[in-house]
Amino acid sequence: MWDGARMTIEIDVEKRRGDRMIAARFTAGPGLTALFGPSGAGKTSILDMVAGLLRPDRGHIRIGDRTLFDAATDLPPEARRIGYVFQDGRLFPHKRVRANLTYGHELAPTANRWMTLDEAVGFLGIDHLLGRWPQSLSGGEAQRVAIGRALLAGPDILLMDEPLASLDAARRGDIMAVIERIRDDLKLPILYVSHDRAEVDRLATSVVAIGE
């Protein structure tokens, strides 16, 4: 479906937030790259900078041969083709599951889409949820829908910010299996933020330590 195997992600950013300095420099290859470090180390800020939701003070962000940010470039989030799965799902509360899933899909140019609604629904096993409202979903269900919504927008890479944080042990296993299939079957590069050793050991192709 998608050939992201040769896509490299090059990140070199700095950002001052209050009296803290957030800095990261690494190159991520295919597979799942875990940004691993204690809470409050600025891992989410790094994802936000990659997504275009937070502007770095300096540096550059490149994905494959596309420059998302440097001294001369600052693509808005909607032009970056980045899927973002937030810690809290962040589904649109006034739209049913189906409309949440198709929100980005319908905005993406046809050439950028690499998954249909039916494929995403089958891949994630969420067929029975399509007519539901987000507030009626369990944590695991909401996270599946959030993943589907991000995939359907046709991203080049996927950002995941502690997607298991609000789930119980059983759901964690489910969602980890989904993430492994995104990594291995869809071959979509993933930047994955976590402070959990076990999670990182199971999922990561490579690890970037973020911390003091």
Partner: protein, 231 residues
Amino acid sequence: MLSAEEWGIVALSLKVGGLAVLATLPLAFVIAWALARYRFPGRMLVDALVHLPLVLPPVVTGWLLLIAFGPLGPIGGWLERWFGVTLMFRWTGAALAAAIMALPLMVRAMRLSIEGIDRRLEGAARTLGAGRWHAFRTISLPLALPGILAALVLGFARSIGEFGATITFVSNIPGETRTLPLAIYSALQVPGGEAMVTRLALLSVALSLGALLASEWLVRRSHVGRRAHDD
């Protein structure tokens, strides 16, 4: 049940209230949005000016309108010269007075609902390919809708009840500016007007109560959606 004259009063009141809230809505929304989302120089002043009609004696608001929008006033004179529009002693002037009195209520209702929107949802929409305007139209605006509707209802009820600023600015002219409260006031001055007063007063109570219940219902609905999202 109501006489033709009384139906005319009701119709005029609805016309004045309707024009007042519909004309005020876009301005009130822009002010509410700016106050909820941005820090800008003069923000406190804008906030205070918007709320002024709420605490000022209405007769003073009416007098200020008379000065500004009278034929010799800076705005009134200009409107008259360039557009041949007069507001003083006209029903449109009554709508203006009602609009100014309704503005603070409308801004407050909308501001609360805008402040309640999780801004991170807009960020999520942007990463899904939505530009600023599209994210506003498809995410923020629908989520603010209950507040906007509540503002319309509250503003409308306030407009229909406006008395002091109206009678000061546009006087009490039957068929032109005599809305429900002014008609009740007039009927009170007339011997034997008690029956009319009773009917119009009951009508006012019904309209106001209906508006309050409607806005309460709308606000509650918006809270349900939001709380469920926070879970």
